[in-house]
């Protein structure tokens, strides 16, 4: 067999192989996108025909009413988690990436910290919820309360924020740090003005994942936030608070069609919230990264 025929055969073989793997990646994409679209469209189709704007402005009553208490409650919980878990998570990530000391063998300390955070990320949310119930609601006599919910949810999502922040910071080129140092910037100043700025997309992604989890979480909230049809009243303890996921589940299990509508409305509102979060974070990243190396 000649060399030319050999080459032709191997070219044909590579072509088939390349097509096969391309088809495989496409299939994988379809598996990811399919359910997401199905969910989105499914919820929209069920919710939109019966949509009434009064859902946004009234509280649950009898077999109907609205979801104002839950929408506001979910927003309050989101903002609370953003403040509490965001602060903790970003600072812990900065610590792990920038300030962990080096031991005598030249290895970084901080293994314990990292492992602890990974373990926290692996905790089932219902266990965390129950811990919150026992320790905070009962142990500290807080009752079902916003603060207990915020603490437990924050514990749940802090690992994601920390990990994302640490990874993003580690990917910032040494040249930025050295450039900042060589100009005589204080460590903290250079970190804020140069390094964190470059790491922002990663940090924002971490916060986004954390908030998405927060918005969609139910089990730990059942244990810590309780539930109420009242609007949030800014009391941190001794007052339960409403949230959307509760109505998605509970109302759907009721026999009345009117409550099923409410359940779909709650789902739709949740999806819209998550989508808006996505859009807002993309806008933030695009605005702050217009001078970054990857955008030309």
């Amino acid at each position: 067999m000649s060399l030319v025929e050999d080459a032709a055969r191997s070219t044909a073989y590579r072509r088939v192989k390349s097509m096969f793997f391309r088809a495989l990646t496409l299939l994988a994409l379809a598996f990811v996108l399919g359910p997401a679209l199905w969910l989105l469209i499914g919820v929209a189709v069920k919710a939109v025909p019966h949509w009434s704007w009064s859902v946004l402005t009234s509280v649950p009553s009898g077999n109907g009413g609205g979801l104002e208490n839950a929408i506001l409650g979910t927003l309050v919980i989101m903002v609370g988690v953003l403040v509490l878990a965001g602060t903790l998570g970003v600072l812990a990530g900065v610590f792990l990436a920038e300030f962990v000391s080096i031991n005598a063998k030249g290895k970084e300390r901080g293994v314990v910290l990292r492992t602890a955070i990974d373990v926290l990320a692996g905790f089932p949310s219902i266990v965390l919820g129950y811990v919150g119930y026992v320790a905070l609601c009962v142990g500290l006599h807080w009752g079902f309360s916003l603060l207990a919910a915020l603490i437990i949810l924050s514990l749940m999502v802090v690992p994601y924020i920390t990990k994302a922040t640490e990874t993003a910071l580690r990917q910032v080129p040494t040249a930025y740090r050295e450039g900042a140092e060589a100009l005589g910037m204080r460590t903290g100043y250079g970190l804020r003005k140069v390094v964190l700025r470059a790491a922002l997309p990663g940090v924002v992604t971490g916060l986004l994942i954390a908030l998405s989890i927060t918005v969609g979480e139910t089990a730990p909230l059942l244990y810590t936030a309780g539930i109420t049809n009242d609007l949030p009243n800014w009391q941190l303890i001794h007052h339960p608070i409403g949230y959307l996921t509760y109505y998605v589940w509970t109302d759907w299990n009721q026999p009345m069609a009117s409550l099923h509508y409410i359940s779909y409305d709650a789902s739709l509102i949740l999806l819209v919230m998550v989508l808006s979060l996505l859009i807002v974070s993309r806008v933030i990243v695009a605005r702050t990264q217009r001078h970054s190396e990857s955008v030309r």
Binding site: A175, G179, R197, Q289, S292
Partner: protein, 277 residues
């Protein structure tokens, strides 16, 4: 007049100019190393370097890769201090005061001894903000003054006409050479006395290299430059003094022409003739 002053300073030429010299009364050698040994862990990188850098001159550090010249350079503004297991013995004197003395403030040391890196490293902020980044950090200027600083420094490095209409654009849209000039403007903006350059043109094309070199030549005698370079031609074109490092030792140093044309050491001769790399 101080006889040790280099002829590039006005002092030895004209007594009137000498009176106006802002560096009057300061040591002739802006930087000096005394018995300097540098090591990472147990590995000695530089040993026994005693050398002075004349104010207002350009010194080239040449030598093969791994000869310790970059480590030496990065020690001069204490960039190595944070590197794990870095150790130093001996002294580096800036205006006759140790750079490691407790009275020395690290941040103002780095303001006085600036640095330009091998690869252009603009920060992820607008062109204008890049130029004034150090100025802001040191609180040298603020508000509207920053625009003046940006324009002055960009003009100084010859970038102004190229960027004046896109001061708020990303610096990464500039060419490599322009980015390096931007970094030079940023380093100059904080008013350094000494500028350390670590192979400043090795990532640039010949035209950009020429532009940067021309800029560097104009900066003396106001500034003292210390340039690490692998480009022997550049060392020759640019510098007044040349130091040849080989295997962690300062083998030879002297006026550039002498070191290249009539080196005292056999190793130097072989290196400048391209026989060892």
């Amino acid at each position: 007049m101080d006889e040790t002053r280099s002829s590039t300073t006005p002092g030895s030429l004209d007594p009137v100019l000498a009176r106006l010299d802002p560096d009057r009364g300061r040591p002739a050698q802006v930087l000096e190393t005394v018995g300097l040994n540098l090591a990472f862990g147990s590995k000695t990188v530089i040993s026994g370097v005693n050398i002075g850098f004349q104010r207002g001159t350009i010194t080239a550090l040449i030598g093969p890769t791994g000869s310790g010249k970059s480590t030496f350079l990065r020690t001069l503004n204490r960039m190595n201090d944070k590197v794990y297991s870095f150790r130093h013995e001996g002294e580096v004197l800036l205006d006759a005061e140790s750079i490691w003395s407790p009275r020395q403030d690290l941040l103002s040391l780095r303001r006085r001894v600036g640095m330009l890196f091998q690869r252009p490293n603009p920060f992820p902020m607008s062109i204008r903000d890049n130029v004034v980044a150090g100025v802001k950090a040191h609180g040298i200027a603020r508000g509207k003054q920053l625009d003046v600083v940006a324009e002055t420094r960009l003009r100084e490095v010859g970038l102004w006409d190229a960027v004046k209409d896109r001061l708020h654009d990303s610096p990464y849209r500039l060419s490599g050479g322009q980015q390096q000039l931007l970094c030079l403007a940023r380093a100059l903006a904080v008013g350094p006395e000494v500028l350390l350059l670590d192979e400043p043109t090795s990532a640039l094309d010949p035209l950009s290299t020429e532009a940067v070199e021309a800029m560097l030549r104009q900066m003396t005698p106001a500034l003292t430059l210390i340039v690490v370079t692998h480009n022997l031609g550049q060392a020759r074109r640019l510098s007044d003094q040349t130091m040849f490092f080989y295997d962690g030792r300062l083998v030879e140093h002297g006026p550039t022409a002498q070191l290249f044309d009539a080196p005292r050491e056999a190793t130097t001769q072989r290196y400048v003739h391209g026989l060892i790399g």
